[in-house]
Structures are given as structure tokens and as C-alpha cells.
């Protein structure tokens, strides 16, 4: 054999996975997760644990947004923190300098995120998908350095004094209230992303992921749809940025380094690209891990890196694979297909 392929899983293995998948694919699972999130403050409601849980919820929103780009459409975005930064800075500047309420900044953030998505995605999505990965990496750096250099973004020290969230006169700056507000918003974001993934557009995205040329041949406008996925990811990231600013009340360029983008990607890959429950769990895992393993902080990123390689080699579908896959997952690729994979590369 020319290529060292993994062996196809045994029949017993797939049967077990089938039962597991049906169990895990249950719709009620989402409600259970939502209930757990709502009940969590009754277990522990110190300021510290609330802030950790709020961060975890925000991280879920980011991971679900990135999942649209990476998981559904198969485009590797390594600068996702840039959209997060754009959202946080746009709303932060409007709220502190011009005294807008955070809710009023939402349309501006949406426009900014969509524009950024078009500026970066527009030229690069026409090219080979590898280019997108590295251009987004560069874009992440551009946004961070720009925020660091400009006066309007506060330079290296960033923006502080961002007001808390209030919805229609209802003040939500109390940690518990804010946590619940975030959980509700994030739940909506998760459901929204999952719905998008099951829609007609979502099916087209998965087709593009599996075989872009075939999708194009079937009449799917791949460029438009890839741009749509990229913009959707940008919107999710931008909205999460508003909440991030509201939670921390201060943002600075250091909050939006490549490390963030890599961690979000980690959550998506580990959980299972394209699988909503997997990505949600992956995000919770990745964001809570440093709290659980305080002593091992130094090893954390090293382990993440190794884990990415190991997952890709041994379990590329992630820990909780997507059930919506159109392709039989256990099919052994035939030689002709391998050749295609070569040539498509």
C-alpha cells in the first residue's frame, strides 16, 4: 500500500457507535443542557464561579460560530478572534465614547462583522482553501496590531468602563442576572447555528466540505455559499464580542491573540466538527480545563497541540461526531478515491 491508511472500524464498533449516536442525537439533549446551565448557579453562585460559567457560555457561542465555518463548510479560519475583537471594540467604543447602550450597538456590530467578513472572505474564498487558513491568521494579527496602534481603540491599554448589559430598561449588570442573560442569548445562538446547519444552505455547505468540485458541478454556487458561511461565522463572533465587553467591562489587544483563535478551533475539532452537541461540550471542556488543572497550566497548551494531532490521526470526526453526515462514515476508501484525494490536494 502506498498510503498508510487507518483500518476501517470493525462492524461491532460501528453498531455500538450507531446506538450511541441515536442516544446522543436526541433532541431532548439540548433542553437538558439548557436546564443544566440554568440550574448551575444554584450549585455555586460566588462571583468567581459565575464569571467562570459566563466565560464558558461565551466560549460556547464562539465555538458554535466557528463551527459554521470550519465544521459545516470545511473552511479553516485561524483568525476567528478577529471578529470577536471587532464586535467587542465596536460596541465598546460606541458605549464608552458616545454613551450608547450595548443593545443599540448591535446593528453597528452586525454591519462591522459582515463588512470584515466580506473584506477578508471576498478575495480569498475564490482561492484554494489553504490560502484562507493563512490569510485569516494574518487578518487576526492585523486586527490586533491595529487595535494596539490606534488612538480610538485606546492603544495597548484598550478600552475600559464598558457599561453592563441592559435590555429595555432592565438592568442586567448583576452577575447572576448577567449570567442568565448570557445563557439565554447563547442558547439562542446555538439553536440558530444548528438550524442553519440543517437548512438547505447547511446541506449545501456540507456538500462543499465533502467535495467542492462535485458541489459546483451540481449547480451549487460554491463561492457565494462559502462567503455566506464565513459571514455567518463573523456575525456570531461579533455578537459574542459585545457580551465579552459587557462581562469584563474592559478590553485590550492582549485579549485577542492567536491563542484565542487556536483555543476556539481546539474546542470545535475536539468536540467534533459539524456536530452541535459535540462543539458545545468541547467548548465547555476547553474553557473549564484551566480552572480544573491550575497546576498544569504550563502543560496545557502543549497538550492541546499534541491532542490536535492525535485527534486528527485517530479520530478526525471528533469525540462526538455529527450525526447529520450524508456519507457513510465507515466506508473504506477505494484506490480510485485515494487518487482523487491526491489530485484534489
Amino acid at each position: 500500500m502506498f498510503w498508510n491508511r487507518k483500518k476501517a472500524p470493525t462492524t461491532a464498533g460501528t453498531a455500538r457507535a450507531g446506538v450511541l449516536n441515536r442516544l446522543l442525537g436526541d433532541r431532548r439533549l439540548g433542553w437538558i443542557g439548557f436546564a443544566v446551565a440554568l440550574l448551575a448557579p444554584f450549585v455555586s453562585a460566588t462571583n468567581y464561579s459565575l464569571s467562570v460559567m459566563t466565560s464558558a457560555a461565551l466560549f460556547v457561542m464562539l465555538a458554535v460560530g466557528l463551527n459554521i465555518v470550519v465544521g459545516y463548510c470545511g473552511l479553516l479560519d485561524l483568525g476567528y478572534a478577529a471578529f470577536f475583537a471587532i464586535g467587542a471594540y465596536a460596541s465598546g467604543i460606541l458605549a464608552t465614547t458616545y454613551g450608547w447602550s450595548l443593545l443599540a450597538t448591535v446593528p453597528v456590530v452586525l454591519v462591522a462583522a459582515v463588512l470584515a467578513g466580506i473584506i477578508i472572505g471576498g478575495p480569498t474564498l475564490r482561492l484554494r482553501s489553504d490560502y484562507l487558513a493563512i490569510v485569516t491568521l494574518g487578518f487576526g494579527e492585523i486586527i490586533r496590531i491595529t487595535a494596539n496602534n490606534l488612538d480610538v481603540t485606546g492603544g495597548p491599554s484598550g478600552i475600559y468602563g464598558i457599561p453592563g448589559l441592559d435590555l429595555f430598561g432592565l438592568d442586567l449588570s448583576d452577575p447572576v442576572a448577567f449570567y442568565y442573560a448570557v445563557v439565554v442569548i447563547v442558547a439562542l445562538a446555538v439553536v440558530g447555528a444548528a438550524r442553519l446547519g440543517r437548512s438547505r444552505m447547511g446541506r449545501a455547505w456540507r456538500f462543499i466540505r465533502e467535495d467542492e468540485d462535485a458541489a459546483e458541478a451540481m449547480g451549487i454556487h460554491t463561492y457565494k455559499l462559502k462567503l455566506a458561511a464565513y459571514i455567518a461565522g463573523a456575525v456570531w463572533g461579533g455578537l459574542a464580542g459585545i457580551l465579552f465587553g459587557a462581562q469584563l467591562t474592559a478590553i485590550s489587544p492582549q485579549s485577542f491573540t492567536f491563542l484565542w483563535s487556536a483555543l476556539i478551533l481546539m474546542a470545535v475539532v475536539l468536540g467534533g466538527m459539524g456536530s452541535t452537541p459535540g462543539v458545545v461540550l468541547g467548548a465547555i471542556f476547553v474553557s473549564l480545563l484551566p480552572e480544573l488543572l491550575r497546576d498544569a497550566a504550563d502543560y496545557r497548551f502543549f497538550v492541546f497541540g499534541v491532542l490536535l494531532i492525535v485527534v486528527m490521526i485517530f479520530r478526525p470526526q471528533g469525540l462526538w461526531p455529527s450525526t447529520a453526515s450524508e456519507r457513510a462514515p465507515d466506508r473504506r476508501p477505494d484506490p480510485a478515491e485515494k487518487e482523487e484525494a491526491w489530485q484534489a490536494q
Partner: protein
Amino acid sequence: MSQLLWNGLFVGSFYALVALGYSMVYGIIKLLNFAHGDIYMLGAFAGFGLLTMAGAMATSASFLALFVVLLVAMLATGTSGLILERVAYRPLRGAPRLSVLITAVGASFALEYGMRLVAGPNPQVYPIRLEGTTVHVLGARVTLQQLALVAIAILLMIGLQWLIMGTGTGRAMRAISQDPKASLYMGINVNSVIARTFFIGSALAGAAGVMAGAYYGKIDFLMGFLIGLKAFTAAVIGGIGNIKGAMLGGLVLGMLETFGTAWLGGEWRDVFAFGFLILFLTLRPTGLLGERVTERV
């Protein structure tokens, strides 16, 4: 003006050395090796370790010592490139492109934070520092050390060019980049040639790492991140997969950056470089010397 040109040439020769490895690997197996910049970092640390071990002896005969260290560090990074290919990339050959890209990101992460575990998070100061006599060439201030570093870079590039155009291994590499399957049928050991490509590319990046460490004097575990990005930019400007293009791209990027810095100020240097990358991909995605490739189905 000539000062700017010289600075651009100097920085550009570093970029070119790193870009070569990027471009070679990409040309042969169409893999974007994100960890390539971290191999450069590894080279800087290997040189640092060796020089620290050599201690006082090194400072007395600094240039000769640096040369020996350069060779050993190149061997070390070349070997780590081999290991990286064997452990992370070979098992995934023929896998979807997304999986390979993610593996490359993981490899980059593992190398960076693995080095952080070994060497600590703080920047290390290189034991020898190349600062030397200044000569004036056409109005530009040039140090002899800079000249020597550029000369080493040029020698390495000439050596590589000979290796690719004049040896059997080079011919095998070119054959694989055209058609891996046919090369296999013609009796080329594809896996071994790919491994050798990784060795050569990584050794060049390691050389650049040692040289950068000795010149700038400070190294840290994240130093490869930015240069990896820059090297990719250089490879794209020249036409990715094209060896001469990578050299040209490195020089062009070095020039652009120095002129951009002079024009906009140092804090905008990286923004300028990456902005240029995006612009370049929009206008001429095949690069200066690249040919248009159509994706085959």
C-alpha cells in the same frame, strides 16, 4: 535610500531562507506546514543551547564557533523536521485537506509550548552577539557581520538550487511535485524523498533561526509565529511551490517592509506586510513566478 535597500535585502534574505522550506514542502506534497516557523525557533534554541554549552570558548573565536554551531543546529532542526513529518504528517497523507491543516496547527502549537516547557516563557539572550565594524557601501551603513550572514544565506540558496537541479534527489523531488503516482511507478521511493524534503527545508529554517538569534540577540518560544507568516507571504509573492520564487519573494517582502516602515512607521510594519499579502492574493494569486495551476478532479 541605499540604506533602506540594504536593510531590505538583509531582512529579505532571512525571509527567503524560511520561505524556501515552506515552498519546497508545498510544491511537493501541497501541505502548508504551519510548524515551519517553529522549526526556525527550534533552530535558534538549538544554537543557543550549543553556544551556552561551549561557553567561554565560543566567545574567543566567535565567528568560527558560530559556523560550527550553525551546522550542528541545521542537523538538529533537519532531524526534527524528519520526526515531525513521520509522526504528524505521514499518517495523514491522502486524508482530507482540512485534517492535515489542523494537524499542522497542532504541530505548531506543540512545538511552541513544548519549547516553553523546556526553556521557560521568558526571552533568552544569545551568548554571542554579532556587532561589528561598519563599512560604508554607496552611502549605506553595513556591518561585516551582516555581510557575512547575507553571504551564508546566499551560499545556502545556491547549494539548494544545485541540490534540486543537479542531483538525483532533486530530480526525484521535481518528479513527485509533478505526479506522485507516476513517480512511484517509476521506482522512486516517494516517502523517503518527501522525508528528505522536510529535512532540507527544516535545516534551512534552522540556519535562519541561528543567524537571527546571533544577530538580534534575543530569542523566545513564540519567535517563529510571525516569521512563519512572513515566510508564507514571501512564498506567495514569489509563487508558492517555486524555489526561485521563494527567494525572490523573500527579497521583495524584505524591501516592501523596510520601505513600508520608513513610510508608515515601525508599528505598522506587520499590518503592511499582511495587508500586502491579501492584496497580492486578490490581484495575482499565482505570485510573481508561479504558473496558473488548475485543480484536477
